[in-house]
């Protein structure tokens, strides 16, 4: 899941997968903005049929936390 999510985020943020580490707080990325948010939420929905609620998403600080959340909530 972690690797899948990293490649998904890399595509949304137009970064290289190697630039994304599980401990990263992704909101700190220079590329992170409200449009990046929409891309990531939409891509997670496409890939896993899961729309992460706003509050839950806000509580996920790191890439690992988001990966764990998606893994435990996907269809």
């Amino acid at each position: 899941m972690l690797h899948e999510l990293i490649s998904l985020m890399a595509e949304c943020l137009e970064k290289e997968p190697e630039e994304i580490k599980e401990t990263d707080e992704f909101r700190e990325y220079e590329e992170w903005d409200s449009l990046a948010y929409l891309s990531v939420i939409a891509a997670i929905d496409d890939a896993y049929g899961l729309v992460v609620p706003v509050e839950d998403f806000r509580s996920c600080r790191t890439v690992q936390a988001l990966a764990d959340y998606v893994a435990s909530h996907k269809e």
Binding site: L38, A42, D45
Partner: protein, 352 residues
Amino acid sequence: MPYLRFQNVGISAIAGVVPKRVIDNYHYTHFMTDKEVQTLISMTGIAARRFAEVDTCSSDLCIAAAEKLFSEANVDRNEIDVLLFVSQTPDYRTPPSSMMIADKLRLKKDIGAFDINLGCSGFVYGLHAAFMYASQIEIRKVLLLNGETKSKAYSSRDKATSLLFGDGAAATLVEKVNAANPTIMSMNSNGAGYKHIMMPGGGYRKPSSEETLMEKKYPDGSIRTEEQGAMDGEAVFNFTITDVPKDIKETLMESGLAWDDIDYFVPHQANRFITDHIAKKFKITPEKLLYSLHKYGNTSSVSIPLTIADWFPFGIRQGKTKILLTGFGVGLSWGTVITDLKDCFNCGVGEF
């Protein structure tokens, strides 16, 4: 709420009107960098919009749309028994605009008329009311007017909204039709999300004051007053890709139809990223998905009828008239309508 179903009521004519003034989104603001603007436009699909002049109100645009409809669809205005005006930008806080509009249109004196305060779901909600009235034995014609001048309600320095909204109006005539036109409509709301799209100041909870008129800077760098519209894009996006597709899916299932039976999908023209995402969920092919947002922007409750008016000469020529439309927005509120436009005279889109 339960579904509404109709057999012998339909849309008999539709006309759109947009202001002449074209806003080129690529050159609208210096508040964002060129790169930010380009990224935003590539996502929303909104390259241009129309803005009304300072002294033009939604009601003026609606009157123009109604007159266009009367003359081109050859409608006897004396047969209109009910007028509905859906808008969030009326002329005054009071009185309602619908009665003044009826008077200016020289409709009959004892007409039933009222305003409906709704945004992007307003065409669907308006159709609910219009079809309900039109199905009454003694009601002949119902005129549904949707009009917005959102350009006056949002800050040009708000990153979430400044490149989205456009102005326009649409007139839709609803009446009984001879051949059966099975129609189904859903209507939903969730007031827990009232803050997601909101103008917090200037009402009676927080009356207009120096404070509500003061420009404030928000964490994303946007600048607006409390009397300008604000949207929590993240929350609204989540709502549009969860509740809205669920409603579309359930309404289609209730109708007994399948996507193959639907000729065109006409979503509220919120922004292309949202509507493409919804369409993708249902594997709707691009030929079936109608857009007008690239030239008119998000015109709130006007966007669905404006898109139909813009597109439907083609659809009718091809005999493809079964449509599924969905509106969603402020409230929160949302709904889906499946109907047939086979009896609809399309007057197209004019300029004011």
